[in-house]
């Protein structure tokens, strides 16, 4: 290897400096915001009863971690989110392929899909409980219903934009519609499917929380509802003297949900950016072997 030139070295150190600056600023911003929150609460500039404060949330979390209850709730929510996410991806891709394969089917179903997608799913959730009972199943169905229709519409639009010449290529090589599907359509749509998955993780979590608001015995949504109900009950009884633990627990759940989901998504994103190309090729070649 040749020794890199001065200007190349300078460029690299400049890039590195820039990256570390960005990293430091990110952390500093978080610390600053937390400190500001804490300070305002301590000085009484905001009402710590309503807004809570970072130390209180941390204490509450420590307590719940101590008796293990927080992990149960996180685990349940995570499980429900992952199951519904998996279902959304499978149903979404399968339905989009079916719509792509049949022009008549897609034209017949299109207005229904648009309608179903714009339906307020949180309003549908109480009905689902009546229909399906008070199970985890209901929550998963609610979460799937939030994400699946939009997913089908996006994937179908993407599939329809596949390069027509590549389809002609497969046909000219004697391929059938099945070959077009496995050799061109799915592999060329891998980036689309991945970006659609990213959106779906978030939507599934929203759906799970909505479901847990209404019917659950455990999970973060259940915890939020529980806390806010106890809060409002005690609020009437004890006014401003409610124990700070409960108010904090409301906040900690919300914060934790967001943080948890972010972690998962961030991890996935990092994995992808490292191995995106490799991954999509492996994924693509797997598809082709089907």
């Amino acid at each position: 290897m040749n020794e890199p030139s001065m200007s190349q070295k300078e460029f690299i150190s400049k890039e590195k400096r820039h990256k570390s600056q960005v990293r430091i600023c990110r952390v500093m911003l978080l610390v600053l915001l937390l400190a500001l929150w804490e300070l305002c609460a301590e000085l009484g500039m905001i009402d710590s009863f309503i807004f809570s404060s970072p130390t209180r949330i941390w204490k509450c979390f420590g307590k719940m971690a101590g008796d293990g209850s927080i992990f149960l709730h996180i685990g349940v929510t995570l499980l429900e989110t992952l199951v519904s996410f998996f279902l959304v991806v499978v149903i979404g891709v399968a339905a989009a392929v079916a719509l792509w394969a049949s022009r008549s089917l897609s034209e017949v179903l299109e207005p229904y899909l648009v309608m179903m997608n714009s339906l307020p799913k949180s309003a549908l959730a109480p009905l689902l409980i009546v229909w399906l009972g008070n199970h985890m199943r209901t929550i998963i169905v609610a979460a799937v219903s939030v994400a699946v229709f939009g997913s089908i519409l996006t994937l179908h639009t993407g599939f329809m934009q596949t390069d027509q010449d590549k389809i002609r290529l497969i046909q000219s090589l004697g391929g059938t519609k099945r070959d077009v599907l496995t050799k061109v359509l799915i592999p060329s749509s891998v980036p689309l499917i991945i970006s659609n998955m990213k959106v779906n993780v978030g939507l599934c979590l929203v759906g799970v929380i909505i479901g847990e608001f209404l019917s659950a015995k455990a999970g973060l949504g259940y915890l939020i509802i529980y806390a806010s109900q106890v809060f409002s009950c005690e609020y009437r009884l004890t006014g401003n003297h409610m124990p700070p633990r409960l108010r904090a627990s409301v906040t900690v759940q919300v914060g934790l949900c967001a943080c948890r989901a972010d972690r998962v998504i961030n991890w996935a994103r990092e994995q992808k950016s490292h191995r995106r190309r490799r991954f999509s090729w492996i994924f693509a070649s797997c598809c082709e072997r089907v």
Partner: protein
């Protein structure tokens, strides 16, 4: 020489709700075995439509296409179609790109793989066997696309402006390259182009189409002194400009 491909009274129209567009009207010609047949015409004269019909991707409204005198729809196995762009699939290596056709037709066995590797050797791509298409230059990509087409051992090669996406210098080289390959393999080829000098430099005969609806205006035989056998040297031949002017006049001539 016997006739390889015979086209009789071919017509084709495109239909939309707004109306019908006649693309091809009563096209008839024949191509001899081992001949390099070139079709030129103004843009929008239905050149690509004609190739899609020959390849069997679309059904003609009327008329017939005979291969070796046999009627019925042209079988795709007999036709190798090379598109305007190389369309190598980015998620596959060069080797799995050139074996795509065999894979689709379930004909990829050890013997076929050996032949493909031999072809990569012959066309100077052996070191790129496991490379991704993005690592190849435009000319190499086009050669890989040609191997993909030749791998199916087609009787007739259909080339739809296969050099038009390349820059001028590469275009001359690849055109020289590919037409030499096709000639040494003694394949029958039908090339579609709008580039007149390209047509003259490779053709045995040139068919001139009129503007829409496409009709056969003329078929011009092209003969050069044997010492000008390659496309690049043909461009230096004294007859070249005479052919060019003749073609130019044919195309300009609006009836």
């Amino acid at each position: 020489m016997k006739t390889k491909l015979e086209v009789k009274g071919l017509c084709y129209s495109y239909h939309t709700m707004e109306g019908e567009t006649q693309a091809l009207l009563d096209i008839s010609f024949d191509v001899k075995d081992g001949e390099f047949f070139v079709i030129v015409g103004p843009s929008g004269c239905g050149k690509s439509t004609l190739l899609s019909l020959l390849c069997g991707l679309m059904e003609p409204e009327s008329g017939s296409i005979l291969i070796d005198g046999a009627p019925g729809e042209p079988s795709r196995a007999a036709m190798g179609y090379m598109l305007q762009r190389d369309h190598l699939l980015e998620w596959r290596t060069i080797f799995s790109n050139i074996s795509l056709g065999l894979e689709i037709q379930n004909r990829l066995d050890e013997k076929a793989e050996k032949e493909l590797i031999h072809m990569l050797d012959t066309y100077g791509l052996s070191q790129f066997k496991d490379a991704r298409p993005g690592q190849l230059s435009g000319g190499m990509r086009q050669r890989a696309a040609l191997i993909r087409t030749l791998a199916l051992k087609p009787d007739i090669l259909l080339l739809d402006e296969p050099f038009s996406a390349l820059d001028y210098q590469t275009r001359l080289e690849v055109c020289d390259d590919i037409s030499t390959i096709i000639r040494t393999q003694k394949k029958t080829a039908v090339l579609i182009t709008h580039d007149l000098s390209e047509a003259i430099s490779v053709a045995d005969r040139i068919l001139v189409l009129s503007s829409r609806p496409g009709r056969v205006k003329n078929v011009i035989p092209v003969t050069f002194d044997p010492k000008y056998d390659r496309p690049l040297t043909r461009r230096n031949a004294p007859e070249f400009s005479a052919y060019f002017n003749q073609l130019w006049k044919e195309l300009r001539d609006h009836e």
